[in-house]
Symmetry: C2
Subunit: 201 residues, 2 copies
Amino acid sequence: MTPDPTPRLDAQMAFLREADRLKSVTRATRLADNTRFENSAEHSWQVALFALTLADQAPEGCDLARVITMLLLHDLVEIDAGDAPVFGDHDAAALAAAEAAAASRIFGLLPPDQAAQFRAIWDEFEANETPEARFAKSLDRAVPPFLNIANGGGSWIDYNVAWPRFETQIGARIARGAPQLWAWLAPRARAVFDRLAGTRR
Amino acid sequence: MTPDPTPRLDAQMAFLREADRLKSVTRATRLADNTRFENSAEHSWQVALFALTLADQAPEGCDLARVITMLLLHDLVEIDAGDAPVFGDHDAAALAAAEAAAASRIFGLLPPDQAAQFRAIWDEFEANETPEARFAKSLDRAVPPFLNIANGGGSWIDYNVAWPRFETQIGARIARGAPQLWAWLAPRARAVFDRLAGTRR
């Protein structure tokens, strides 16, 4: 009835089967309505939707399709390495090594040409040097504050983060690749931090 | 400290805020590991990842970036209209009307040029006529069987679906835009149906 599946398609489907596990990686950020923590699969969709919607903020000549490809792939390594909350304590070198090993294993499920292609896109994202990677990284950093503004503080409360740390550690990274978006987020984030500081006092 | 946000960015962010609700739309399909039902946001990521991974099955000349854009946007209407399980009973005309109204409201949150652009992409997906829409639609139809094969039956059990109905109603639609993928899925789906039929006997 049906022809034999090709080894190429077998490999692609094995990769897609493994990728399904990203739905079970929980992040430190809650939904905008504060009902639960989000997972890395729905986050990957959301940040790709940010890229699509905020395309007019991409730098001149930036390949938006490549940005979106990066964002669809960027968190797959968390299937093995887990999500490292940005305000948590972790050994950066150990995390980078775990993520690189995860990239080798997970992209390695694909046919060799695609494994190399997806790995190169992931490496480019991590290196954060091309215009595409810088825009993608800044959007990735912008989504949690966007959600925290909506849900009233979220991970900023959980990790006891104050405005100066947020502005230095996160704001600067968002501003690097998406300055307009940071300009929009900053006063709204600041208002939440001010309200939280008032509550704590 | 920061410049005033532009009305354009305000509108884009209002759209993105509303889009977050797609994470709370539950589908009839379970994760591959059968631990829970999936939601429409993570599904949207998954089907975009299918398009990226199975790009070599796209028809000649197909614009893959447009396929992925379609898939990132295709389920947003479910925020208002809900997810209508493919094997469930629903009034097709009423559902189409509810989804069109949802598209008007949700895409209407965007700046007018973008609202028109995203709506046109959604309309193209729904019309299922261009090569991009046909490929996107076939992938969208293929993901639930892919998950049901992994989780041992899933929505086929819940909706008491037998092989002939699945082959006619779903298989034909997958085969239309992604015949190779259908050739891969068909024997694997059939094996699950045969096992379920044995259990029911």
